[in-house]
């Protein structure tokens, strides 16, 4: 394992193992760092002019599983990791169509690196992991799309149907040069922890897009502050499916989580949000796909229903789009109840139709349950109360009645989902329940708990 230093004030003397002998080109040091565990250390406030003022597109290629660290020059071979922030960068401050790529199918760690693309009204892109098989982990780094041209992107992976790319960005700062800019996760599995948008740049009207490049994989975000984004978090995913998971993130006021998707089915983007909100609310769960949306509703709920703070109650509200059907329904996330017995039980889920006293039928709304019906394995058996394929639709069973709900209109109907027969778990454990809605453009309130009798 060796250290290779990079600084504009170095003598560019191999093996670049001190600040005095530092390479005056990042590419030189990266080419030298060919052994696993090697470190390339760049002086954060003395990036060589060729690397901070590129006149044309540049690709930095990693040659091994190494670390690239931005640091202060403490003399000799001493250093203190120091982020470049938005004062220093690798790339350019020049206007023009200047792209910055990171390539190399290796496991690479980066600290404090800022990548800046060409500015002005020219097309430019920053691309991480521009190699099939790249795994990059970046801490306290900044991706700076400096172009002010419309529809430019920060791309977090290579593009290509057969590409595997992973990127983990811890406390990243994303800086944009235009409100039409966006992040494109492309073919990567992406984890973003503690991300933020630089207040010095523009705020995207849509944060995540596909921008005409192939997309697959997922984006997992935890503790990100997306509050500046008040337009849309996820745009239409016409170029491939993508799952987005937001956990304990701050959202923008009035933000739309998921734009209308094309294709208008689950082959586009889906979004899960856990405990994310624009304000001081700590109970939200959201799920969105092209077939509908699920949110927590605190205005209408079962009187003995699920609680969100130990006192107050809530329901899950499903609003379906025009795109779902009996055959391709909107499906809620699962909710579990722990069951310690192995005797026959009947699971049920209470739900409500608001604004009409007409019962929902079993081709419009139905429940599904998964229980451990096989002894000796965790294998689950699934049952439902959906209309049989060749059967006529029938009303779902009556529930506790509208007197058992709060907040609904005078005209409402209370129903209950439950399988036709009892179930007999063969093992103790969780009995899982979820609700499917096959009727387009309706609203259903669900008490998100499976009751066992």
């Amino acid at each position: 394992m060796a250290d290779y230093f990079v600084a504009s004030g170095g003598s560019n003397t191999s093996p670049y193992d001190t600040w005095a002998k530092a390479a005056t080109s990042l590419a030189t040091a990266l080419a030298a760092a060919t052994a696993t565990g090697d470190r390339v250390i760049v002086q954060y406030d003395a990036v060589p002019s060729g690397d901070s003022g590129a006149a044309s597109s540049v690709t930095y290629t990693f040659a091994a599983n190494i670390a690239l660290i931005s640091a202060s020059n403490d003399g000799g071979s001493a250093y203190t990791p120091t982020a470049m922030g938005e004062s220093y960068w690798i790339g350019t401050s020049t206007s023009g169509s200047i792209n910055v790529f990171l390539a190399g199918a290796y496991n690479v760690y980066m600290y404090g690196i800022t990548l800046r693309s060409g500015g002005g009204n020219s097309n430019a892109v920053i691309t991480l992991g521009n190699s099939d098989g790249a795994h990059y982990e970046m801490e306290d780094c900044c991706l700076w799309q400096a172009s002010t041209a419309s529809n430019q992107i920060l791309r977090l992976s290579a593009i290509g149907n057969s590409h595997n790319t992973f990127a983990r960005l811890t406390r990243p700062t994303f800086r944009f040069g235009h409100t039409s800019h966006s992040i494109v996760a492309a073919c990567a599995e992406v984890v973003i922890e503690g991300g933020q948008i630089s207040p010095s740049g523009s705020t995207p009207s849509t944060l995540f897009t596909v921008s005409s490049v192939v997309a697959h994989g997922s984006v997992y975000m935890e503790g990100c502050d997306w509050s500046p984004v008040t337009g849309t978090l996820i745009g239409s995913h016409t170029n491939g499916p993508k799952n987005y998971v937001f956990v304990t993130c701050r959202l923008g006021s009035g933000v739309t989580v998921l734009a209308t998707q094309t294709p208008a089915n689950k082959s586009s983007a889906r979004a899960w949000l856990y405990d994310c909100a624009a304000g001081d609310a700590h109970y939200h769960i959201q799920y969105h796909d092209a077939f509908g949306s699920l949110t927590v509703d605190t205005g209408i709920y079962a009187n003995d229903g699920a609680q969100y703070d130990g006192t107050n109650r809530c329901s899950w509200k499903v609003v379906t789009s025009a795109n779902c059907s009996y055959y391709t329904p909107f499906v809620t996330p699962w909710f579990d109840v722990y069951h310690s017995g192995t005797s026959a039980v009947t699971p049920s889920i209470e739900f409500l139709r608001d604004g009409s006293t007409t019962a929902y039928q079993d081709d419009e709304v139905w429940g599904e349950w998964a229980y451990k019906g096989t002894s000796g394995f965790p294998l689950t058996t699934m049952v439902n109360d959906r209309k049989a394929l060749a059967a006529s639709a029938a009303n779902q069973a009556a529930g506790v009645g509208t007197s058992g709900w709060t907040g609904e209109n005078a005209s409402a109907w209370s129903g209950k989902l439950q399988p036709a027969s009892t179930i007999t778990p063969a093992e103790i454990g969780h009995i899982r329940g979820r609700v499917c809605v096959g009727e387009p453009s309706i609203t259903v309130y669900i008490d998100p708990q499976t009751r066992l009798t």
Binding site: G254, T260, T262, G279, H288, T295, D297, V319, A322
Partner: protein, 70 residues
């Protein structure tokens, strides 16, 4: 491509926010749904603005499709 109908559903929440469901329908009968939480926003104005955005997007899609076919 034009949006010929917009419906807005509003669901008041315990913390004063309002869950909003917009359904926009174009002249071909295709429906576009948007859901969001309002915290004091002018909901009617937001829905109108979104309908205009949708019209622009749909028009651009039409252009792209024509160019793509060419």
């Amino acid at each position: 491509m034009s949006i010929i109908n917009t419906t807005i559903e509003q669901y008041p929440q315990a913390n004063g926010t309002v869950h909003v469901v917009e359904r926009h329908t174009d002249h071909l009968g295709q429906q576009y749904m948007r859901t969001w939480f309002s915290d004091g926003h002018d909901i009617e104005a937001m829905a109108t603005a979104h309908a205009a955005e949708l019209e622009a997007q749909l028009a651009q899609q039409e252009i792209d499709e024509v160019l793509g076919d060419g």
